[in-house]
């Protein structure tokens, strides 16, 4: 993993810095101790001072600080925004898992969807408290308040994207990319934008780093699709295989195949997906229509676009290298 040790070391440092800031809000007198304990467990799972095993999955928390540093600011200046964004990241991930019917973590009763949703709500509200704290702390509210407003507006846009994702039955490539940009793309764009905005007032550099985040976020959505693909392929019963309908390989195939073949694929997907022979037919159609090449090509599109916008932002050396390493951590070199 390119730069993995350096990134892990940075995650450790960041969590040590922000721990007290978060804990402060989770030590409210007269609140039910169990709920606040669950919030702490969810946020600091594998990263508490008392259990200092840092999970590499937490690496996205570095984005605001690195983008701040990349444009000449101090990483530490983005700490509260990093904390808030990461709270939203965990909360969104929990809600997404509940809404998609995915497996939830087994600790702290999170496997109960109702509990999980309530935990996610607590994380969102804690994120809001951190934003308010940031606005109070910084004297120059002409920068902070518009950022907080934009953050909430774009989060609302993400919810709209999620609604489209949940309710649209016929996804095509155009709607796939629109939803991917609106959901995952926007969220990572925000992480980079708030970080860069804390380090510079140069609008063009902020825009370039925001675009880096956008491309990174869409790439992450494609990887989520691959994960969904794996879950479905390796599942003994594929009766829930409708989730796979919205993954990039299937969306591409249904959009590009001639009418007769598309109807055949739809028929395969709709009728008895638990039948292994039918699934073989689906896989055959996916390979024949070039879905793998299309997916790999689109991954390259978002990777190259992310690298190009990052380079154009002329990032400070160390932060730039770490942002490149974050991107490359998504690419496994050999099949």
């Amino acid at each position: 993993m390119a730069g993995g040790n350096e990134l892990t070391s940075r995650i450790t440092g960041l969590f040590e810095r922000i721990q007290d800031t978060i804990y402060k809000h989770w030590k409210i007198p007269d609140q039910d101790g169990e709920y606040l304990t669950i919030l702490r467990q969810v946020f600091f799972v594998n990263s508490d001072k008392n259990s200092p095993k840092i999970h590499f999955a937490n690496r996205w928390v570095l984005l605001p600080g690195l983008c701040c540093q990349a444009v000449g600011g101090k990483e530490i200046d983005a700490d509260i925004f990093s904390s808030a964004w990461f709270l939203y990241y965990i909360a969104a991930h929990i809600m997404d898992s509940v809404q998609d019917g995915d497996e939830l973590p087994s600790f702290s009763q999170l496997s109960n969807p109702a509990v999980a949703l309530n935990v996610a709500s607590g994380l969102f509200f804690t994120g809001n408290l951190l934003f308010i704290e940031t606005a109070e702390k910084f004297q120059n509210n002409s920068i902070i308040l518009p950022l907080i407003k934009e953050f909430n507006q774009k989060m609302l846009g993400m919810c709209d994207g999620q609604h489209q994702d949940l309710t649209t039955t016929q996804v095509n490539l155009e709607s796939y990319w629109r939803i991917a940009h609106k959901k995952s793309g926007t969220f990572f764009e925000l992480a980079c934008k708030i970080g860069a905005s804390m380090g510079t007032s140069d609008i063009s550099r902020i825009k370039l780093l925001s675009d880096y985040g956008l491309h990174l976020g869409v790439l992450i959505q494609i990887l989520d699709d691959l994960e969904e693909w794996n879950v479905t392929i390796n599942s003994k019963t594929r009766t829930e295989s409708r989730d796979i309908w919205k993954t990039l390989p299937i969306v591409y195939a249904l959009d590009i195949l001639p009418e007769q073949e598309r109807d055949e694929l739809l028929n395969f997907l709709e009728n008895n997906p638990d039948n292994p022979a039918i699934w073989d037919n689906i896989m055959q159609k996916i390979e024949q229509c070039g879905a793998t090449l299309f997916l790999l090509t689109e991954m390259e599109r978002y990777r190259i676009n992310a690298l190009n916008t990052l380079n154009q932002a002329n990032p400070e050396n160390e932060a730039g290298e770490n942002l490149r390493n974050l991107l490359e951590s998504l690419f496994i070199p050999k099949y």
Binding site: W229, G290, I304, Y335
Partner: protein, 71 residues
């Protein structure tokens, strides 16, 4: 959508695939496809990633299996 169409034809039209290897600009023009230089570069890299060292095609399941627990 054009990139998707080019990928589909590359995967289903051996003559077009041969022409693309020999002269991409001419092959695209003959079919009436318009790909930007950037898109041609993405496709070139996708093609490179989509082939094993022995020349066989990488499958979707192979790609997906690499991303089990990718986070």
């Amino acid at each position: 959508m054009t990139l998707a169409q080019v990928v589909y034809h590359l995967s289903n039209d051996a003559d077009f695939a041969d022409q693309m290897r020999a002269n991409p600009e001419a092959a695209l023009a003959e079919k009436g496809f318009m790909l930007s230089k950037e898109e041609q570069a993405f496709l070139s890299r996708g093609l490179h990633r989509g082939i094993h060292t022995d020349g066989s095609k990488v499958s979707m399941n192979e790609v997906a299996s690499l991303y089990v627990g990718w986070r």
